[in-house]
């Protein structure tokens, strides 16, 4: 179906080759996963398939790519619209119409299909992706998971043979992500659709993948079955790390396989009681009866909680449950209908300038919102002078967080993880009592996530600060958080030690705990520690 013959790609003004001499054939009905560190060219590889690279972005392409017998170099991306459906990283950015139905027909109208064909296909596709109840809804009112489904639907409606998706689950909560992936799985099996996915969060996708293409950023790519690639890869999901840690011979890619493989191992261990960690009694954040409403709709409903010193609290919940509203309220930039948030006894709404910086640090969903300097250096100097600290301190922090960033680079040219690191060091330079992060792991690879986890744990333990983090990433929560608050519809539905909260819900339980159940272990580190202690 898709054929890469000796493909190499170089972007202008760039010294590294993105892809070098890649030969790859993807058969019909295959689900291929593209993995690699951030900024390694996964998106470029996907966009090569329908010719957006280099037709749209520029760049020098050698070799040939053909899809369904058509070479991408001979036609424009539009001419392949009926063969390839492509869904970008942020589907909302690609929406052109204002309601679901109009969005679906946009592509078909452009392809000049007749009206009765369109009617039939719209109904079909709405059913296929369970979008019927949403057909007349405005796109802006949909949740992240729904938007993702609409984007997939509008790609499928033209009956393509290939579907290409760039990080389809990175912005979704675990349940919505599960849903999107199971739809893709069904499409592959029922319609023999060829699917190519780029993804960072491997834990949920690998069990569906037939093959993996791993690219390493310097042009080399290796292709193979998930077992072959993950056996030796440095980018591995926790499930594979677990297999390595407990010395299994092979690796399993799904919970079911791994449970079978670890049967003996699990039987050999006695069930441990859960340990509870002691916590400090110094309240940092005091949230009392907080209600926030947007246009009559309550985002938060009389929410009360306390956050203590040196705690790392994860806030979880569905898309649109009120996580971001809660974080904004903590930072004091929301319009509270009633109730208050006090940080160290001071109402967070009244914080100003320097005192604000020293009290709350906030990393928004788009870390680049914080940045406006024309270079990393400018950004760091600004932070130094804002906080009256020794010039160079912020850059030192950055070097510690992520070594090897040049001072002269423009923040836009940094990779996702590096940009987060820059925003983080700017915020940390004022050493705030409370650090808030909204969805920090979007687009981060495992390596970057490990670094982030270490930084945040150090920050909380060493400096005795509190960290609040909103995220969908259960694996991150398992590694990082000491306490988890689960909110739904603006109310707290669960609040307690991370182990208790995560284990009580199968959808939010990390894979390691599913494999090791009934042991109360969330991460590979937990398992390793337990083995050590039982020896």
């Amino acid at each position: 179906m898709i054929k890469f013959s000796n493909v190499s790609l170089v972007y202008p003004n760039s010294t590294t080759t993105v892809i070098e001499d890649l030969t790859l054939e993807i058969a019909e009905g295959e689900l291929v996963l593209v993995i690699g560190p951030t900024g390694s060219g996964k998106s470029s590889l996907l966009r090569l398939i329908n010719g957006l690279v280099p037709h749209h972005t520029g760049g020098i392409l050698a070799g040939d790519i053909s899809v369904d017998g058509v070479s991408t170099s001979s036609v424009k991306p539009g001419a392949l619209a009926h063969v390839i459906g492509i869904v970008g990283q942020n589907p909302a950015n690609g929406f052109v119409a204002d309601t679901v139905e109009e969005e679906l027909v946009f592509g078909m109208e452009a392809l000049n299909l007749s009206n009765d064909v369109m009617r039939k296909r719209v109904e079909e596709t709405l059913d296929l992706l369970s979008l019927v109840p949403l057909r007349n809804r405005a796109l802006t009112t949909l949740s992240g998971g729904e938007q993702q489904r609409v984007a997939i639907a509008s790609a499928l409606v033209a009956h393509p043979k290939v579907l290409v998706l760039d990080e389809p689950t990175s912005a979704l909560d675990p349940i919505a992500a599960e849903e999107v992936l199971s739809i893709l799985h069904r499409l592959v099996h029922d319609l023999s659709l060829t699917v190519v996915i780029a993804e960072h969060k491997l834990e949920r996708v690998i069990q569906f993948a037939d093959r993996i293409v791993q690219i390493n950023g310097s042009g080399n790519a290796s292709v193979g079955t998930p077992e072959e690639i993950l056996m030796h890869s440095t980018i591995v999901p926790p499930i594979v790390e677990l297999a390595r840690a407990i010395g299994l011979e092979g690796i399993g890619v799904s919970v079911r396989e791994m449970r079978r493989m670890t049967q003996n191992f699990r039987d050999s261990l006695s069930i441990e009681a859960k340990e509870t960690t002691s916590q400090s009694n110094d309240v940092i954040v005091d949230i009392a009866d907080l209600t926030i409403a947007y246009q009559g709709k309550k985002a938060l409903n009389t929410l009360t909680a306390k956050i203590y010193e040196n705690e790392i609290v994860a806030i979880m919940g569905r898309n649109g449950a009120g996580k971001s509203s809660l974080l904004r309220a903590m930072a004091g930039v929301s319009e509270n209908s009633s109730g208050y948030v006090k940080i160290h006894g001071v109402d967070s709404q009244t914080l100003q300038r320097k005192i604000r910086r020293q009290t709350v640090g906030y990393i928004p969903q788009e870390p680049s919102d914080l940045l406006y300097g024309q270079s990393v250096q400018q950004e760091c100097n600004q932070a130094d002078s804002d906080n009256d600290i020794q010039p160079g301190t912020t850059f030192e922090i950055l070097q510690k967080l992520i070594p090897g960033i040049s001072e002269h680079v423009h923040p836009r040219d940094l990779s996702e993880g590096q940009r987060l690191g820059l925003a983080l060091s700017v915020v940390l330079s004022s050493n705030p009592h409370l650090l808030i992060l909204d969805e920090p792991t979007r687009g981060l690879d495992y390596q970057a996530k490990r670094v982030l986890t270490k930084i945040l744990i150090d920050f909380a333990r060493v400096f005795n600060r509190s960290v609040v983090i909103a995220t969908h990433d259960v694996e991150l929560v398992a590694e990082l958080a000491s306490r988890t608050i689960f909110i739904a519809d603006g109310e707290i539905v669960a609040d307690g030690p991370t182990v208790d909260v995560l284990l009580s819900s199968p959808a939010f339980a990390p894979q390691v705990s599913k494999i090791m159940a009934p042991q109360p272990w969330l991460t590979v580190a937990d398992v390793v520690a337990a083995i050590e202690s039982q020896k």
Partner: protein, 248 residues
């Protein structure tokens, strides 16, 4: 009142008829009544779409236009005799600018005539804004001829990006406030404008790529999904508009 589902051209034709009536009657009171009637229609029919706000915006703009016109009409303009309210000293202009007078007596008649002219002009503008806020531009485009459609799609997409940019501005302002920066003034403008510009460029590229890969602009012909039909209620609304125009 229930929201009527009308042909997208209906309110435009209706508004055109009312606007013609307003200009033919040429009375301030009639213009105000027409604006009031349109306001009632807009408020009973509006939904939460971004374009429904255009009526409110047009009213605000109209008030500004009337105010500016009144000031200009008083300062520069033809003197109309009548009751003098106050006097502005006459500015001496060079001899090569004859016929123009700046300043002089401000009479009640002069003030009133400039305001009432302003109201009539603005009424026409507001009436068309009402039509715009009652009709989805997307639906309107669907009934336009194909050669306008291609151009129109571009315009509509540009306008649908605008609300997203407004959201982006408030998001960036919030982030800057959280960094403890001021969010007003010239320097703050730069701090907000740079991330905004970068984001909108990235967004436009995304959008262009998405449209391109969905085959936009590939074929000269474009088919239409669910052609919009002209119904009896459309004719009724237009007949009412034409009746008002005829009586005027």
């Amino acid at each position: 009142m229930k929201r009527l589902s009308l042909h997208p051209l209906t309110w435009w034709i209706f508004s055109a008829a009312i606007a013609i009536a307003v200009s033919r009657v040429n009375s301030t009171w009639f213009a105000l009544v027409a604006v009031g009637a349109m306001a009632i229609i807009v408020f009973s029919q509006k939904d939460s779409a971004p374009w429904s706000k255009s009526f409110g915006w047009s009213l605000k703009l109209a008030l500004w236009i009337i105010a500016i016109r009144a000031v200009m009409g008083v300062v520069i303009g033809v003197p109309i005799p009548g009751t003098v309210i106050f006097h502005i000293p006459i500015l001496k202009l060079p001899h090569w600018m004859p016929g123009i007078r700046i300043g002089g007596d401000v009479t009640r008649e002069r003030l009133f005539s400039s305001i009432s002219e302003g109201i009539i002009i603005c009424a026409i503008f507001v009436i068309f804004a009402a039509a715009a806020s009652l009709t989805s531009p997307h639906r309107l485009l669907r009934v336009l001829p194909v050669y306008m459609y291609e151009f129109g799609v571009t315009v509509v997409i540009a306008t649908s990006v605008l609300p997203q940019l407004v959201a982006a501005v408030s998001r960036i302002r919030m982030a800057q406030r959280l960094r403890g920066q001021q969010t007003s003034g010239v320097r703050a403008f730069k701090r907000i404008a740079i991330p905004l510009l970068e984001e909108s460029l990235a967004r436009c590229l995304d959008l262009a790529a998405a449209m391109d890969s969905r085959g936009y602009g590939l074929s000269k012909k474009r088919s239409r999904y669910r052609p919009i039909q002209w119904k009896f209620i459309d004719s009724a609304v237009i007949a009412m508009g034409l009746l008002v125009m005829g009586l005027a």
